[in-house]
Symmetry: C2
Subunit: 454 residues, 2 copies
């Protein structure tokens, strides 16, 4: 591309002139300029991912992250910073390996990750023939002889036809969450699932599973990469394949941990607007897009409001939630305490779709409030923020929904997230500085409008 | 992120049901599914970037690329494929180096790239003190004693406050294009410019410059990375710095080369709809986003139309333009021949902003035609394609504008492009498969609507 984009300039100048007649547009531009030029979110993310790193709930890494968050909230200018006690589950991975062999062939090691919250094989080899299905329906049709004593391989593919990949993730999610319970109840020895991934590489992705309450077997559950899954299915169509799994993951009770909270006191009243992400990550990769980006964006908004002296009417509160990944205890505890303390929470937003280019907001609120937010659409248009139609909100703030708190989530471009989510590939180098900052800009602009109008 | 996106599902199903009542929506979905599931664009891009690689006009790489394009258009099912003769300039880089030293200090090598079309130092060391300015205005104020015999360093920064980075690129463009002429006319020995880059790394970016017609000096012009530029400015504020440049780049006349064209014949008439990219690249990196992606997307549309049996009314023509980067001879020759042959060209679109997630279309056409395209907005909404307000079109198709041909460009998310554009970082691994394919989907859908309605 050479000179052609120059032709946009007149249009842009027109936009600027119009915006000078509109004070909200001017405030939008101030927030955008401050964050794009002086934003600390990218350097903070570098620090969090490189110097704290992985931070699964209950781990030393998570505890280090809470101290990091306290420090960064203070540096950003918070009037008040504190830790809120949360009891979190402690799940540990340990050494793990998965090998397969065809008939009398040699054992071959596959890249794998045990699913979060799953029990392992207690360090013993669990060996069995693999039985293969693609769907739950196919699994239900398998005769018991093909389940009992076998290792069941669920190869349900990520549906590439969904434009918004979150739908494909939701569509395939039950295999990660429940396959171990389905198979365990019928006497299988373990399950292998195809990773919930939009990529065509061989990267395994972990993520939370859960055993049913009445599930006594608690068999091991592991994920393999898309390429290994394709190859394994191909082999299984012509011959028997055996698997040998050895893993040590286990749930080790609970531990006292913390949400980290910082706020700028409101000038008018004590109502609270929450902007948030989750501070915990999986124990693989660096937790960059999931959800280091949501954390540094939330802190960035506090920094920018303080720096710009925006004089918020309501208290703007940054919440760095604990334990989103494997328990949601941070979110449920926060909501319980807010209720107990009779806090007036009038809005909460989370950024937990990665630090990609922003596109809009999921909105979970009354039709009247949603219509009001949608009426601000033109203010967001110059920032390429256009979608106000989705109706979903972040997992951590969803426990506030029963109390009628209007909720939102930053909707970001969803094409790259599930290539790397919950895997060793979720690293700082996958985050683009401008995309990250623009996500903070969009949330900051929405916070500004809600603070002024609600 | 865990389960929250599941909440989108009902909304999406609602969208599907609605679309079943609308045949255009159904065709949109068919095009999208075909490309997202069976698309060849990503593998074609891998092949082009890894097996052909750099392909500057006039180079052996470009000639190889034309054979590649012929082959790929045939594989995609084109009814007719040919090469169109184009005379292109031949610019060659050769060895080059830039060193700086402070006062009596040691020479230190900086990463650099000569600007495209520039003349070098003919392999000789050109050594002088550096005079520093940020802007053209500052340069005009420099006394002649500070210009003559000096090497002028223009450190004009990429303006991060523009949301659409193309505007920042346009804003800074004159320094790359014209600084050598400004300085050469006043007796400077060479110019160093800050790369036109949105990044904060030390990657130098090349790109076309031009000497004025009356420019007899033709001094050398090189770009350095943003980090080197920042450091150099800082040093120059406290002490004298000297530079030593040695380069061999030069323009070596013209050469016969080709555009590559493939088409599916129309069922109704001989009017032509063009979908295009440029096949040439700079002689650095792999020409992945600039503009391998535009090429493979255009070929993908032909493949998908053929595969789906869409029975286009008009001829759908893929044009792989030569020499966009340093001459635009492919575009000007194509327009000249179209005029000479009395072809009825009723629409042309180019993809030359990188293979990033699509957001809309720049439209250069009559207000009536633009309003018609904008009236299709709701059909594009489920694909996150939302912006129909920009008024620009691809450089290669702009020579068709005087003949009144309605023009468009795929508008993609612009945040990452200028981090890598015209540099060694423009490589295949920077391209996301789904983002690339969705760009082809959006262009294919627009081609479908225009073919049906114009």
């Amino acid at each position: 591309m050479k000179y052609s984009l120059l032709k946009i300039l007149p249009l842009f100048l027109g936009g600027i002139l119009f915006s000078q007649q509109n004070s909200d547009s001017l405030q939008f531009k101030k927030i955008s300029d401050e964050i794009l030029v002086n934003g600390k979110a990218y350097e903070n993310l570098r620090d969090l991912t490189q110097n704290v790193g992985q931070r699964l709930s209950g781990s030393a890494g998570y505890e280090k992250a809470t101290d990091w968050a306290v420090q960064k909230l203070k540096e950003a200018g918070a009037d008040k910073v504190w830790k809120e006690e949360v009891m979190v589950p402690v799940w540990v991975r340990g050494a793990e390996s998965l090998q397969i062999k065809e008939g009398n062939g040699k054992w071959k090691t596959l890249k794998m990750l045990s699913l979060g919250n799953s029990e392992g094989t207690k360090g013993k080899d669990v060996e069995a023939e693999i039985a293969f299905v693609r769907t739950k329906e196919d699994f239900d049709k398998l005769p018991d002889s093909q389940v009992k004593g076998k290792i069941i391989f669920f190869n349900y593919a990520f549906n590439q036809t969904f434009v918004n990949t979150g739908q494909a993730y939701g569509d395939a999610g039950k295999y990660r969450r429940s396959a171990a319970s389905w198979a365990g109840k019928r006497g299988a020895k373990a399950v292998i699932i195809r990773s919930l991934s939009s990529a065509f590489d061989d990267v395994p992705h972990t993520g939370a599973m859960r055993y049913d309450e009445d599930d006594t077997a608690k068999i091991a559950a592991v994920a393999i990469g898309p390429k290994s899954a394709d190859e394994l299915e191909k082999t299984l169509k012509t011959q028997k394949v055996f698997a040998k799994l050895n893993s040590n993951c286990t749930m080790k009770g609970e531990k006292l941990s913390h949400n980290v909270i910082g706020e700028i006191t409101g000038n008018k009243d004590k109502s609270v607007l929450v902007v948030s992400g989750h501070l915990d990550s999986w124990d693989v990769g660096e937790g960059a897009h999931d959800d280091g980006t949501g954390i540094v964006q939330s802190i960035e908004i506090l920094r920018a409001f303080k720096k710009l002296g925006l004089k918020n009417n309501h208290t703007i509160r940054v919440v760095c939630f604990a334990n989103e990944e494997n328990g949601l205890k941070g979110g449920t505890t926060y909501a319980e305490n807010a209720k107990k303390n009779n806090e007036k929470q009038i809005f909460a937003i989370e950024s937990d779709g990665g630090g990609f280019t922003p596109r809009g907001f999921g909105l979970v609120m009354t039709p009247e409030k949603r219509a009001q937010v949608q009426s601000w659409r033109n203010l967001f248009a110059p920032y390429n923020v256009h979608n106000f139609e989705l109706q979903y909100a972040g997992a951590d703030i969803s426990p506030l929904e029963p109390a009628g708190v209007p909720l939102a989530e930053l909707f970001v471009d969803p094409q790259r997230y599930f290539d790397i989510h919950h895997s060793n590939e979720d690293t700082f180098d996958k985050v683009n500085r401008r995309e990250l900052l623009l996500g903070a800009v969009a949330m900051g602009q929405l916070m500004y409008m809600i603070d002024k109008n609600w």
